[in-house]
C-alpha cells in the first residue's frame, strides 16, 4: 500500500528551481533511500515533502490525502516527522526536554512513548538530564531521531544522518534506522553514503540535476554497473 | 503674509531642507550603499557643529570671557570650519567602527546611539569645553557683507546648495567606482571568495568614515546658519530620527532620493505646523509631539508598504564584483 507519494514536483527557492518534476513513492513498511551527487536536490525533496518549501507544481500525497503546501506543523500532525541534516537538536535544552519538544503538539500523555524512545536509545535514558549541546555528533543524531519519533510518526524523513560521523558510528546509526523501520515506520532517507543506503533500502531513487534518473530495488541498483561507477566510487 | 516675507520664509525652509539633505547623503553612504545602521546621527551633527563653531569663533576675551567658556577659539575662516568638522567626525566614526564593525549589524546602532547621547551629556555638563547648556553664539557666516543682513539668507542658501551638490557629485563618483561596487556587494552579502573578513571590515570602515565626515559638514552648515548652538538642539528626534525618515521616504541607495526625501519630509514637517495651529489652545503646547507622532507613523507605513521609498534604489548595470 502506498503511504507517501510525490508526483511531478517542481520546487526551489525564490529565483531558482532545484527540482524539476520529481516523483517518488514509499509503501508501508519500506525504507526508501534517495541518492545522487551533491546538488541533485535530495535535501530539497525532503523539505518540499515536509512543507518547508512550497512546490510550484506537482502534488504530495499522504494516505490518499493531498498535503501539498501545508505548513510543517500541520504536516507533523498528519504523521510525518523530519530530521534536518544539521542543527537538529536544541543545544541548551536537556535530552529529555528535546524529546518533550518533539511531542509539543501532543496534548495526550506521552510518557509511554518517551519510554519507548528511551528503550530504542538506552544511552539517552542515562544522560537525560544532560544538555544536548554537550553531546557528541553521533549522540546528537540519536537525540534528533528520538525527537522526531515522539509524535509516533507514520513516515520519518532523514536528511543525511551519517554526515560527518566516524565510520563506526555510521554503522550504529544505520542499525538504528533499521530498528525504527522494524517498528513499522516508513523511512525516507537521503544519503551521501550511497552504498550503505542502497544496502538497507527496499526501494531507492537516484536523482541528478533535480530530476529522477533511475529507481529500483536497493539490491538491483547496488548491482548496477553504471550506478556503481557514478555514485558508489567503484 | 506679504510676498517678500513669504519668499524669505521659503528660503529659510530651503536652507534647512538642504542642510538635512547633506545629512541624508551622509547616511545614504552608510546605510543605502553599505547597510551600516547608524542611529547616532545626532552625535555627528553635534560634534560637527561644535567643531566648526570653535574653529571659526575667536576665544572670548575681556568681559565676555566671564560669561562664555570655550576651550579654544581659533577665529579661522568658514571653510576651515567645514573641513575641521568633517575631519573630527571622521575620526569619531573610525573610533566607533573599531569595536562594532566586525559584529552583528545592530551593535553599530547601539554604539552610535550611545556615542550621540554621551556627546550631548559632555557638551551639557562640561562648561569649560563649550559653555555648557548655554552653548555658543555669534558664529561667523561666509560672504557676509556683500548684501544687507536682511537678505543674507539668499547668499547662505546658495552656499549650502553648492556644498550639497558638491557632496552629491562626490558620492555619485565614488559609488560608480569599483570601490562603490564593493560596498554594495557587502551590503547584499554578495561577497566574492577573494574577499577576506579583513577586507570587508576595511570597506565598511571607509564607508562609515566617509558618511560621518559628510554628517560633520552638515552639522557645521547648521551651526553657521543659526549662528548659535546649544546641546539641547541635538536630540535624537531632530538629529537622528527625522533624517532616517527622510532617507527612507526618498529611497535609500539613491542619492537623488536622499535629497528629495529631505525636501519632502521637511516640507511635511513644516506643513504640519500650520495644521497644528488650528488646534485648540490647550493642545498647542503639545503640537510638536503630535507632529512627531505623525512622522513616526509615516516611517512605519514606509517600512511596511514602500521600503524602497519614493524613488527606490537606482538600478545599475554592473552588480557583482569584477576581477
Amino acid at each position: 500500500m502506498i503511504v507517501l507519494k510525490v508526483e511531478n514536483v517542481t520546487v526551489g527557492y525564490t529565483a531558482v528551481d532545484i527540482l524539476h518534476g520529481v516523483s517518488m513513492e514509499a509503501k508501508s513498511g519500506e525504507i526508501v533511500s534517495i541518492i545522487g551527487p551533491n546538488g541533485a536536490g535530495k535535501s530539497t525533496l525532503l523539505k518540499a515533502i515536509f512543507g518547508l518549501l512550497k512546490p510550484h507544481q506537482g502534488k504530495i500525497i499522504l494516505n490518499d490525502e493531498d498535503i501539498t503546501g501545508l505548513k510543517p506543523d500541520r504536516i507533523a500532525r498528519k504523521g510525518i516527522s523530519y530530521v534536518p541534516q544539521v542543527d537538529n537538536v536544541f543545544p541548551s535544552l536537556t535530552i529529555q526536554e528535546n524529546l518533550e519538544m518533539g511531542a509539543f503538539i501532543r496534548t495526550d500523555d506521552f510518557s509511554q512513548r518517551l519510554e519507548e524512545v528511551y528503550d530504542l536509545f538506552p544511552v539517552m535514558r542515562e544522560r537525560k538530564k544532560d544538555k544536548a549541546g554537550q553531546l557528541s555528533g553521533g549522540q546528537r543524531q540519536m537525540v534528533a531521531m528520538g525527537r522526531a519519533l515522539m509524535l509516533d510518526p507514520q513516515v520519518l524523513l532523514l536528511d543525511e544522518p551519517s554526515a560527518g560521523l566516524a565510520p563506526l558510528l555510521v554503522a550504529d546509526i544505520f542499525e538504528k534506522v533499521k530498528e525504527i523501520n522494524a517498528t513499522g515506520v516508513v523511512i525516507v532517507i537521503v544519503e551521501q553514503n550511497a552504498r550503505e543506503a542502497l544496502k538497507m533500502a527496499h526501494h531507492a531513487y537516484v536523482l541528478a540535476m533535480g530530476r529522477n534518473v533511475m529507481d529500483d530495488k536497493g539490491e538491483v541498483l547496488l548491482a548496477d554497473e553504471e550506478i556503481g561507477r557514478l555514485y558508489l566510487g567503484g | 503674509m506679504e510676498l517678500g516675507g513669504f519668499i524669505a520664509y521659503l528660503v529659510s525652509l530651503a536652507i534647512m531642507a538642504s542642510i538635512y539633505a547633506v545629512f541624508c547623503l551622509g547616511l545614504n553612504i552608510q546605510w543605502g550603499y553599505t547597510g551600516l545602521f547608524n542611529i547616532g546621527i545626532a552625535g555627528f551633527f553635534c560634534v560637527g557643529a561644535y567643531t566648526s563653531a570653535m574653529l571659526t569663533t575667536p576665544k572670548p576675551t575681556g568681559i565676555y570671557a566671564q560669561y562664555v567658556n570655550q576651550i579654544f577659539g581659533l577665529n579661522l575662516p568658514f571653510v576651515v570650519g567645514l573641513l575641521g568638522a568633517a575631519a573630527v567626525c571622521g575620526i569619531i566614526g573610525f573610533l566607533i567602527g573599531i569595536p562594532t564593525l566586525k559584529l552583528r549589524e545592530d551593535y553599530l546602532a547601539i554604539a552610535t546611539l550611545g556615542i550621540a547621547e554621551t556627546f550631548r551629556l559632555i557638551f551639557n555638563n562640561e562648561h569649560w569645553l563649550a559653555n555648557g547648556p548655554r552653548g555658543l553664539m555669534g558664529l561667523p557666516q561666509p560672504l557676509q557683507g556683500i548684501v544687507s543682513a536682511k537678505h543674507y539668507n539668499y547668499i547662505y542658501l546658495i552656499v549650502v546648495v553648492i556644498i550639497m551638490l558638491f557632496i552629491y557629485l562626490l558620492i555619485e563618483r565614488a559609488i560608480r567606482s569599483p570601490w562603490g561596487r564593493v560596498l554594495r556587494a557587502i551590503r547584499e552579502d554578495e561577497i566574492s571568495a577573494s574577499m577576506s573578513g579583513k577586507d570587508i571590515f576595511h570597506f565598511k570602515m571607509q564607508s562609515l568614515i566617509f558618511g560621518s565626515m559628510v554628517m560633520g559638514v552638515g552639522g557645521a552648515l547648521y551651526a553657521h546658519y543659526t549662528k548659535s548652538i546649544s546641546p539641547d538642539v541635538f536630540t535624537p528626534l531632530y538629529g537622528t530620527f527625522i533624517i532616517w525618515v527622510m532617507l527612507m521616504a526618498g529611497g535609500s541607495g539613491n542619492n537623488k532620493g536622499a535629497i528629495l526625501g529631505a525636501y519632502v519630509i521637511w516640507g511635511i514637517w513644516i506643513g504640519t505646523s500650520f495644521m497644528t495651529d488650528l488646534l485648540p489652545y490647550t493642545l498647542k503646547a503639545r503640537a510638536p509631539y503630535i507632529r512627531f507622532l505623525l512622522i513616526g507613523i509615516l516611517l512605519e507605513i514606509i517600512l511596511i508598504y514602500r521600503p524602497q521609498g519614493m524613488l527606490g534604489e537606482e538600478k545599475r548595470v554592473s552588480k557583482l564584483l569584477e576581477e
Binding site: 515536509f50 518547508l52 510543517p72 506543523d73 507533523a76 500532525r77 523530519y82 534536518p84 542543527d87 537538529n88 537538536v89 536544541f90 543545544p91 541548551s92 526536554e97 528535546n98 518533550e100 519538544m101 509539543f104 503538539i105 549541546g133 525527537r147 509524535l151 | 547597510g35 545602521f37 542611529i39 569595536p99 562594532t100 566586525k102 559584529l103 549589524e105 545592530d106 551593535y107 546602532a109 547601539i110 554604539a111 546611539l113 550611545g114 556615542i115 547621547e117 554621551t118 551629556l121 559632555i122 551639557n124 555638563n125 535624537p236 528626534l237 532616517w244 503639545r286 503630535i290 512627531f292 507622532l293 512622522i295 513616526g296 507613523i297 516611517l299 512605519e300 517600512l303 511596511i304 521600503p307
Partner: protein
C-alpha cells in the same frame, strides 16, 4: 561606598527587568528592540493613569500602604499596567513586526521599525501627560531605614529589589518547568527546528512580547516609585539595557540579570567620581569595553 553599592543593586534590579525582556526578544525574535526602554515608560505612565485617574474614578481611596511612599491603589495598578503593556507590545508585533516578518525583511529593518515604535510611544506619553516630571504621590517621602555600614535605605527600595527578584524567579520557573516556557527556550535555540517540531512559533513570539512587555512595565513602575516619571526615562534606560544584555550574553536571561546588577552598581558607584548625569555614559563605556574584549558577553563562547 557600601551605600552606593546598595543603591546600585536597586537600580540594577530595575535595569535587569528591562534587560531580561530585551534579551528574550533578541534571542527569540532576533532583533534589537529599540522600543524596549519606551515600553518601560509606558508601564510607568499606565500605572500613573490607573492610580491617579482610573481608581479615583472607581472610588478606591489611596490610603497609605505600610511604610511605603505609594498607597493601596498601586497594588492594583501594578498588575494592570503589566498586562496593559504586554498587550501594547503584542499589538506592535501584530501591526508592525509580523508584517515585516512575512515580507522577510532584514534584522535592521525590524530594528528601525522598533525605533519608530519607540518614538510613537514617547510622543503619545508626551501628548497625554506633557514633558514635566511626575510622581505617583507628590510630596510623599518616607523616612529611610538605617542598615549596618551606615547604609540608609528607603522601604520602597527594599521592596523594589524584592519585587524585581520575585518576578525574575517566577520567570525562571516558567521557562524551566512549563511546556510553553520550554518551547520558548527551544525557539531561542533554533527557530527552524522548533518549526519542524510542530511548535507554532507565532504563538511563541506573542508570549515573548507579552513577557518582555510585562517585565518592562514592572521595571518602569519601580523606577517611577524610586525616582520619578519622565517621558524620556525609558529612552535613557536604553543604553543601560543593551549594556546589561550584551554583558550577560544576548539571549541569556541569567546573564541579563547579572549584567543589569553590574551596570546598576557601576552607574551608582560612578556618582562618587562623576556627575550623576553621566550615568548613561558609564553604561556606554562598559558596553564598549565588553564589545572590544569579549563581544559575546560573560556567558558567551561555547554554543555556536
Amino acid at each position: 561606598m557600601p551605600e552606593l553599592i546598595t543603591y546600585g543593586i536597586v537600580l540594577g534590579s530595575i535595569i535587569a527587568l528591562g534587560a531580561i525582556g530585551l534579551t528574550l526578544v533578541y534571542g527569540i525574535i532576533r532583533f534589537a528592540n529599540f522600543a524596549h526602554g519606551d515600553l518601560m515608560s509606558a508601564g510607568a505612565y499606565v500605572a500613573l493613569f490607573v492610580v491617579t485617574d482610573f481608581l479615583a474614578w472607581v472610588g478606591i481611596p489611596d490610603t497609605n500602604f505600610g511604610p511605603f511612599s505609594f498607597g493601596w491603589r498601586m497594588l492594583i495598578a501594578f498588575p494592570i499596567s503589566m498586562v496593559a503593556v504586554a498587550c501594547v507590545a503584542i499589538i506592535f508585533d501584530r501591526i508592525l513586526y509580523r508584517k515585516l516578518r512575512s515580507k522577510g525583511s532584514g534584522a535592521v529593518i525590524f530594528a528601525m521599525s522598533s525605533l519608530g515604535a519607540a518614538f510613537i510611544l514617547r510622543m503619545v506619553i508626551l501628548i497625554v501627560w506633557g514633558a514635566d516630571s511626575l510622581f505617583y504621590r507628590p510630596g510623599m517621602l518616607r523616612p529611610a531605614m538605617d542598615l549596618p555600614l551606615g547604609i540608609k535605605i528607603r522601604p520602597d527600595q527594599v521592596l523594589i529589589v524584592i519585587i524585581a527578584f520575585s518576578l525574575i524567579i517566577f520567570l525562571h520557573l516558567f521557562l524551566q518547568s512549563t511546556k510553553m516556557g520550554k518551547a520558548m527556550r527551544a525557539t531561542a535555540d533554533n527557530m527552524q527546528l522548533a518549526l519542524v517540531s510542530g511548535i507554532d512559533t507565532e504563538r511563541i513570539i506573542i508570549w515573548t512580547w507579552g513577557i518582555g512587555g510585562a517585565l518592562a512595565a514592572a521595571g518602569g513602575i519601580l523606577y517611577g516609585i524610586d525616582v520619578q516619571l519622565q517621558p524620556s526615562m525609558g529612552w535613557n534606560f536604553l543604553i543601560p539595557l543593551f549594556a546589561a544584555a550584551i554583558l550577560g550574553t544576548i539571549g541569556n536571561i541569567y546573564g541579563a540579570l547579572l549584567g543589569g546588577l553590574i551596570i546598576g552598581v557601576a552607574q551608582q558607584v560612578s556618582t562618587a567620581f562623576l556627575m550623576p548625569t553621566y550615568k548613561p555614559a558609564v553604561a556606554f563605556i562598559i558596553m564598549i569595553i565588553i564589545l572590544l574584549v569579549r563581544p559575546r558577553g560573560i556567558f558567551g563562547g561555547k554554543s555556536a
